[in-house]
Amino acid sequence: MKDEALLSQMDSIIARYPKSRSAIMPLLHLVQASEGFVTPEGVELVAKKLDLATAEVAAVATFYSQYKRRPVGDYHVGVCTNTLCAVMGGDAIFAGLKDHLGIGNDERTPDGKVSLEHIECNAACDYAPVIMVNWEFFDNQTVESAKELVDQLRSGNPPAPTRGPKTLPTWKENSAVLAGISDGRANEGVQAGPASLAGLEIAHERGEA
């Protein structure tokens, strides 16, 4: 994982910040884009790039839940089970997916395609129950729609997110976006989903917009 392209991307990320240590989080996202998770080699490389001890980088990598210390699937499925989503169906969806996939929380299917995690509130409560795949929105889910979704992911036919790009990127591809490497897809997808427009539409109906 020391190819020239990766090292030069790291340099350009570091150059954005007034102090180099601030680049630690995007660099760890970039390690995930390259390796799929934060490998020990990745930690060493980031430490070397930032002139830090590996323990200092490991301390950061282990604090944040998006940094994975073992491989996840090409499609990492997060089911919101915080209170509101849980009550409205998230608990049933998560139980249904565990059963359907035959894996538990924070586990991956044997084919390496799909991993499963219960996640906290993802700021889409007006679209509850919510599933995130590779941190793209899949809104208004049911147990059945969730099972269909993971079946499509496993068969190599991933559906488009509800509010996101036209096709679903892989875990590694989206990790690069989180590192600040543009994939040129900002213009794809809707500007707003139906719930985001609910108040505006009612304001128009009432002559208040």
Binding site: V87, M88, C121, T142, R163, G199, I202, R206, A209
Partner: protein, 433 residues
């Protein structure tokens, strides 16, 4: 009846609302030009006069925060926008940044000009990839338009804007934990004082503001201070996004003057889901004490909600009907706080763990009646005893739910189990079955 007032959300129904062309077609970056015609101190004074208060939860006057930055001190100044939207129930900044990211960029340019910052950061949570794409593109397009970089819009000041992506930690929504995270450390809160205005990012004077607070600034300059003052209530000026979610007919974003009531929002949006009644709700996320049907007419502004015993918070109106077990809801929120406690302060780290143990027993009907007093005693020993407000927030749903629903806790004990059917509260039965 209070009327809705779409300002930030006014053009979200236009397909290109997130582009610089779409934004400028509707007056985008005009507020910036008006602000640039004023001296920086006058810009701060205008925001102060407008009455704009923080939209991230605490409600601190935005202009006053800006005025705390010492000027002429020879140090770099920083603006940091908190886009780490993670408070359970809160879902306003995410659609705002997806549909209208330039309102934030324009507001940040005005704020940086006012406080004399040459670096501005957007700390955005890492779990919203498409929102991050839109924000990064907006920043890039603002550079291309000459609104960022060297000699901004010919005004003779420089401004670099950096999009910084988080990695999954609720605590980083706390402003000093956010700064530690942005400096490249584990996100743990700092002891205050010193406050960020004196020693924030890299120990330099720093303003930390919520997305919606800063995104509201361009409208103040575009329409004028008096226009902004004409909206809202006496001490809570302006417009804001209310996020309606849960067991309602039409969940979504409702932008209105501060002071609208939940009854008004429900009446115009079709109310609680058909065949059901309101049981409890949060006015501003899970860290704000819950309300019940008796609070439907509380004005949703900083003073009104405070006087009724809760907090306006993030205006995240999570609605739960009579099918919802309040003990289950509170247990789940408490598990969240336990998971997200950063571990720095003992009362929060250990206290939230014990809260979960006791609540689990109560929900499963194997607790004891005296556990309620133990919970309240624990809350009393967590509240106000840590560096930040995470532990305080963890106590809010517990103490308020015991206040309003003590009998329901006790019903779990007499039944020896949870008396609710969790299927009844889902969306798949009822409306969509």
């Amino acid at each position: 009846m209070t009327a809705l007032k779409p300002v930030l959300s006014k053009h979200w129904n236009e397909a290109d609302s997130f582009t610089i062309a779409g934004y400028q077609r509707n007056g985008g970056y005009e507020g910036m030009k008006k602000a640039f015609a004023m001296e920086p101190d006058a810009v701060i004074a205008a925001v102060k006069d407008s009455g704009l208060r923080g939209r991230g939860g605490a409600g601190f006057p935005t202009g006053m925060k800006w005025s705390f930055i010492p000027q002429g001190d020879g140090k770099p100044h920083y603006l940091v926008v908190n886009a780490d939207e993670s408070e359970p129930g809160t879902c306003k900044d995410t659609p705002l940044l997806m549909a209208n990211p330039h309102s934030l960029v324009e507001g940040m340019i005005i704020a940086s000009y006012a406080i004399r910052a040459s670096h501005a950061f957007i700390y955005i949570r890492g779990e919203v990839t498409h929102v991050i794409r839109r924000v990064q593109q907006a920043v890039n397009d603002a550079y291309a338009a000459g609104y960022l970089g060297k000699n901004v819009d010919g005004k003779g000041f420089d401004l670099e804007m950096i999009v910084h992506v988080g990695a999954g930690a609720y605590i980083c929504g706390e402003e000093t934990a956010l700064l530690d995270s942005l400096e490249g450390f584990r996100g743990q809160p700092r002891l205050r004082p010193p406050f960020p205005a004196i020693a924030g990012l890299y120990a330099c004077p720093t303003v930390v503001n919520n997305v919606e607070s800063i995104a509201s600034v361009p409208a103040i300059f575009y329409h004028g201070v008096e226009w902004f003052q004409s909206l809202g209530t006496e001490k809570s000026k302006g417009f804001t996004l209310y996020s309606l979610s849960g067991h309602v007919t039409r969940p979504g974003q409702y932008e209105a003057p501060l002071g609208i009531t939940l009854r008004e929002i429900l009446e115009m949006s079709g109310g609680v889901r058909a065949g059901h009644t309101l049981k409890f709700w949060t006015p501003g996320g899970s860290s704000t004490p819950i309300f019940t049907a008796e609070h439907l007419d509380v004005p949703l502004d900083y003073e009104g909600v405070g006087a009724a015993g809760s907090m306006l918070g993030t205006k995240a109106l999570q609605i739960f009907d009579e099918t919802t077990c309040v003990v289950r809801a509170v247990l789940r929120w408490t598990e969240f706080y336990k998971h997200e406690s950063c571990g720095k302060c003992t009362p929060c780290r250990e206290g939230t763990w014990w809260l979960v143990q006791i609540l689990k027993d109560l929900e499963n009907g194997v607790g004891k009646a005296e556990d309620l007093e133990k919970l309240l005693d624990l809350c009393d020993n967590i509240l106000g005893r840590s560096f930040c407000a995470l532990g305080d927030g963890a106590t809010s749903p517990i103490t308020s739910s015991i206040q309003y629903f003590r009998d329901e806790y006790l019903a779990h004990l007499s039944a020896g189990k949870c008396p609710f059917d969790p299927v009844a509260s889902t969306l798949f039965v009822g409306a969509r079955a």
